[in-house]
Symmetry: C2
């Protein structure tokens, strides 16, 4: 009963069919994301890789690859920096708290939007605006614990 990501078998096999290798650097990036319960900036991921001498550019390339493969998701781009997290297949559908002061992004478990409401909204938008909704994102802005108590 291992995590789908840390499982040494399923993911590499899944990728092999596409000619993609789950190399040590990529594995390391995924490990960093698995250990985190919130979106991480590319620079933060790179920093957490520590002494493994992995180039920042490789982290960028890895993030784009993993996004295309659906393993990872670009969860936030505020303050001019991309923040990634494991895709919802692994984390479950959820939303985020965003601190307006320091830019910290935290996970908020679960989805609070009713399925009925979302269905109605999607249908309406599709009919009235010819816009096909594929996903949604709810963010709560405010002050995090640190900034709020300061």
């Amino acid at each position: 009963m291992t995590s789908p990501v840390t499982d040494t078998k399923t993911i590499p096999d899944l990728l092999a069919g596409k000619g993609v290798r789950l190399t040590a650097p990529r594995r390391a990036v995924l490990d960093v994301l698995v250990a985190q319960a919130a979106p991480l900036a590319v620079a933060e991921i790179h920093a957490k890789l520590g002494n493994r001498r992995i180039n920042l550019v490789s982290v960028y390339r890895t993030m784009r690859l993993l996004s295309q493969l659906g393993l990872v998701r670009l969860a936030d781009e505020s303050k001019g920096t991309q923040r990634f997290e494991l895709s919802e297949a692994f984390t479950g559908h959820h939303h985020h708290l965003v601190c307006e002061q320091c830019g910290l992004v935290e996970d908020l478990e679960g989805c609070w939007l009713g399925v009925n409401m979302l269905d109605a909204l999607n249908r309406r938008v599709r009919r009235a605006r010819q816009f096909r909704v594929t996903s949604h994102d709810l963010k709560l802005f405010g002050l995090c614990q640190r900034c709020g108590s300061a």
Copy 2:
């Protein structure tokens, strides 16, 4: 019964107290935003200013100033570019449709989240996470008319 923004009297007076002048370039930027029903990128605003020889840097500075004054709001930062719109005091509270393919952002009138649900959510987040919610943002991702029919 003029719009609060196009009204030549209230806004300048409001700013005067802070030592801020509503100059021609700033007025021009506001006019562009008023004429638009969706968030605009800084480069787009600059382009719409056309032959008025206003520097791109001045547009950036104007946007930051207007944001601080609460007249304008940073509505979206996807694809690495900031997009601004008039603040909700003028446009009313609303959300956005974001095309995942071309990055187009459209307005979606009104708020679909129930007040009761939001209140409960805010209280819960405040209690459990010491996070003080001040606002929220709902985005629907998908394909716009152009990209969806292609």
